[in-house]
């Protein structure tokens, strides 16, 4: 009886594959593989018309399907570059270039990162400040919040050049205009998250502070802010990604001097799709890294506060 149970009549044997898929590593690998496969198929299909023309012009008519597909992955200006073309371009513009070079993606990432971080810090501070005001004043709640919300309904692409132009007129150039666009995008999630977070203490916890005749400032410091920490980190994750978008968008109207946005712009000027895609991938990796850093900070802070179990 027990033997039969052990030998598992369902034939459920722990194969290496099922063990891999039961964790998180397996599914992650599968998803990446599917994305890469779809990308390759799409690249072949999208680049096919141009490749057909190219072969026709060259008078080559006896190409096999395999040769044709390989050729679609080796165009200089493909509609959609293949993953390995992008990977090679990223390698060439990071590892094989000096960081100070104008063609180094690390150099451009650094430029974008600095205004992202400055904008993120300013945006987070502004968001927390606004949330504190809104939570403590009904008047400000009614008068300020509609503006906070409507500020985000304006397309950033429309307002970014205005901010650059206005700030240029008062001689603010370089890092700051871009950082302010990041601020513009990142303060919003922090404001909304922190308003909710600062209001999250239970009535009983607020009553407790009242019985101690605690001042509003003491209640803020000892109750509202600690209660709001999980909300702050959740909104900071959104804000840091929005900051990066803001910095890249802010680089577009400056005339493509430096930064990932400038790489995107110059790539589109010259039809360098491989350059565009490598800048996009680097931007995505940068955003993912920033969100991960905020997540790690979240875990450390909440654990030290005794709130992560």
């Amino acid at each position: 009886m027990t033997d039969a149970a052990y030998s598992s009549p369902m034939g459920k044997v722990d194969s290496p594959f099922s063990r891999l898929m039961s964790g998180t590593t397996g599914p992650v690998i599968v998803v990446v593989a599917v994305i890469v496969a779809v990308w390759y198929i799409a690249a072949a299909l999208l680049n096919a018309p141009a490749q057909r023309d190219a072969f026709q012009r060259a008078g080559q008519t006896d190409v096999t399907l395999a040769e044709f597909v390989v050729a679609t992955y080796a165009q200089e200006r493909p509609v959609l570059p293949a993953p390995h073309q992008v990977a090679a371009e990223i390698w060439a513009t990071t590892a094989e270039k000096a960081i100070t070079s104008k063609r180094s993606l690390i150099y451009h990432s650094g430029i974008t990162l600095s205004s992202t971080l400055l904008g993120f810090v300013l945006g987070t501070a502004l968001g927390i400040g606004l949330a504190i005001l809104v939570v403590h004043s009904r008047v400000l709640d009614k008068s300020l919040m509609p503006w906070v919300i409507s500020s985000q309904t304006i397309p950033i692409l429309a307002i970014a050049p205005m901010i650059i132009v206005v700030l240029n007129a008062i001689n603010v150039t370089g890092l700051w205009p871009k950082a302010l666009i990041s601020t513009y995008l990142s303060f919003f999630p922090v404001t909304v998250g922190m308003v909710k977070g600062l209001r999250s203490p239970e009535i009983i916890q607020l009553d407790l502070m009242k019985t101690y005749s605690a001042s509003g400032f003491q209640t803020l410091l000892m109750l509202r802010l600690p209660s709001a920490m999980p909300y702050l980190f959740a909104s900071m994750k959104v804000a840091v990604a929005a900051s990066l978008v803001g910095a890249i968008v802010g680089e577009l109207p400056t005339g493509a001097v430096a930064g990932l946005g400038a790489r995107l712009l110059s790539g589109s000027y010259y039809g360098q799709t491989v350059q565009i895609w490598s800048a996009l991938i680097v931007a995505a990796v940068l955003a993912a890294s920033l969100v991960t850093i905020v997540s790690i900070a979240e875990r450390v802070v909440l654990r030290r506060m005794g709130m992560a179990r």
Partner: protein, 269 residues
């Protein structure tokens, strides 16, 4: 000292005359309290008992200045409840422990002391003393979620005691606990009261708890909330749980139950 003096000679701590409180709601006014008269003297252990909706918690919250009365007069320590609250005249224990989850047990007890601006050494001394008083010595560095419900409530009592108030207001502090834990905490609370000679106002819906703990039991009626009966208990101040089997105890419990039943029949009519 107070035992020899008797309750009549002790100083009045809470004096309530013709107090009423009406909440304005969308469904019209709700008379939470109507024409309440009550005198609580120093060293007394007073219980408010009654069915839910009788205003016993509201009355306690008025004393604590967490609600404003709409009529009548009330003084706490001879001043208005607000002045008493600002002077930190009382410690308040809520229905749930309301411990801050990001603070350790010691830091939770330290919370009111930080607000009061006490020095670090004074805080340390009071934390140790009051945690010992509720038998929580050794749990200083634990977080609230690492403690049982009974221990959390004891920690919240230590936090209220750390303010060193002469008046302790307790709103069904053991309501959420099982009976064994509740009995144990009742006994501890009584010892604590005997040791410190504080005035305690205690809200409960348990008859045995009210009779076991109190020197005075106030029975309230609902809709509008008002006082039906005030029972002075002549049970000795140093009691043990065994007293609950004695005829004297059962007599008082019977009178409380009669009062509560009258409240219910009034409801039904």
């Amino acid at each position: 000292m107070l035992n020899e003096q008797g309750p009549q000679k002790a100083r009045s701590v809470i004096d309530i005359r013709g107090l009423s409180l009406t909440f304005e709601t969308n469904d019209g006014p709700v008379h939470a309290l109507s024409n309440v008269d009550l005198d609580i003297r120093e060293g007394e252990f007073v219980s408010f008992i009654g069915p839910s909706g009788c205003g016993k918690t509201t009355l306690l919250r008025v004393i604590a200045d967490l609600e404003k009365p709409t009529g009548g007069e009330i003084t706490v320590n001879g001043v208005t409840p607000e002045e008493a609250r600002l002077a930190r005249a009382y410690g308040y224990v809520f229905q749930s422990s309301a411990l801050y989850p990001w603070r350790t047990i010691a830091d939770n007890v330290a919370l009111p002391l930080e607000i009061m601006g006490l020095s670090a050494s004074e805080r340390k001394e009071r934390i140790a003393r009051n945690l010992d008083l509720v038998n929580l010595g050794g749990f200083e560095r634990k977080y609230p979620w690492q403690l049982s419900g009974g221990m959390q409530q004891r920690a919240s009592i230590a936090r209220a005691l750390a303010v060193e108030p002469h008046l302790l207001l307790m709103d069904e502090p053991f309501g959420a606990l099982d009976e064994i834990v509740r009995d144990h905490l009742n006994e501890q609370l009584l010892k604590l009261w005997a040791k410190t000679d504080k005035t305690v106002v205690f809200v409960t819906h348990s008859i045995p708890e009210a009779v076991f703990l109190s020197t005075k039991i106030v029975v309230l009626f609902p809709r509008p909330g008002r006082i039906y009966d005030v029972i002075e208990s002549d049970l000795p101040r140093d009691r043990t749980l065994d007293i609950r089997e004695t005829p004297e105890f059962l007599k008082i419990a019977h009178r409380v139950r009669e009062g509560l039943r009258a409240g219910h029949s009034y409801e039904d009519s």
